[in-house]
Amino acid sequence: MNALASLRLLLGYRGREGMVAWAFHRISGVGIFAFVVLHVIDIYLVGGNPAAYDELLAFYASVPGRFLEVVLGAALLYHALNGLRIILIDLWPSMATYHRQLWWASWIIFVAVGVPGMIIILRPLWNPGPGL
């Protein structure tokens, strides 16, 4: 509710890309953060309770698990590329001239890296190997 109000406020005085970039960056950052906390706990189980870890891993490797894996990868890739764009513009303000180009370049890289990545992760769906 408050976040929505913030979004409206932003919509008012900034370009469309700026608003979307900010919202996606925040949402992806919070999402990856949640996974990192879960991931440290699951890896802790490798030492503490390997059987429980293997059970969770079976979910990660399942079909729904793989779709979530793609979402995580997309969030990380978006956040990384947009983060780099932020860093470039913040530390070298003259880069702001190329604001639009940087925005589009980051989406082109997102698709160019993300689509093959998605295919690799989802491959067992149409080509089940010993793992699935």
Partner: protein
């Protein structure tokens, strides 16, 4: 419906504007960017190896003990990633929370809970990296 924000945004980069006034806030602003560059390498390498080169189906507890963490290099790499992400993720979450919580009492409480969670993640992650026995051979 005035959304009072605790951080100002830069119109140029559509991210948090470089804070002025507090040295501590300025330092964390720069460190968010420094750790961001480090994570670009560390996190994307980690993800590429474990999701593209290997498949999750093969990464059993046995695999981690026998293969992945049988090399001191990869343990150190993953610990460095953990330290970087701890700083970046928790400082980032602090910004998000302060931005969205209005009540002063809740702010203080929730940020303390966040620091507590950071300490827990630090301890669990560091403990398993340090104590999972190295099986030998490749190390």
């Amino acid at each position: 419906m005035t959304a009072q924000r605790s951080v100002e945004l830069s119109a140029r980069s559509s991210a948090r504007a470089r804070p002025s006034g507090s040295r501590r806030e300025l330092l964390s602003w720069y460190l968010m960017r420094l750790t961001g560059v480090a994570l670009f390498v560390l996190a994307l390498t980690h993800f590429s190896i474990l999701h593209f080169l290997f498949d999750p189906a093969e990464q059993t507890a046995e695999f981690i003990a026998e293969e992945r963490w049988n090399r001191i290099f990869w343990r150190a790499f993953d610990w460095l990633l953990l330290m970087t992400v701890l700083f970046h993720g928790f400082v980032g979450m602090r910004t998000v929370l302060l931005d969205n919580i209005r009540s002063e009492r809740n702010r203080v409480l929730i940020v303390y809970l966040l620091y507590g969670l950071a300490a827990l993640v630090f301890i669990l992650g560091t403990q398993v990296i340090l104590t999972l026995p190295v099986r030998g051979q490749g190390a």
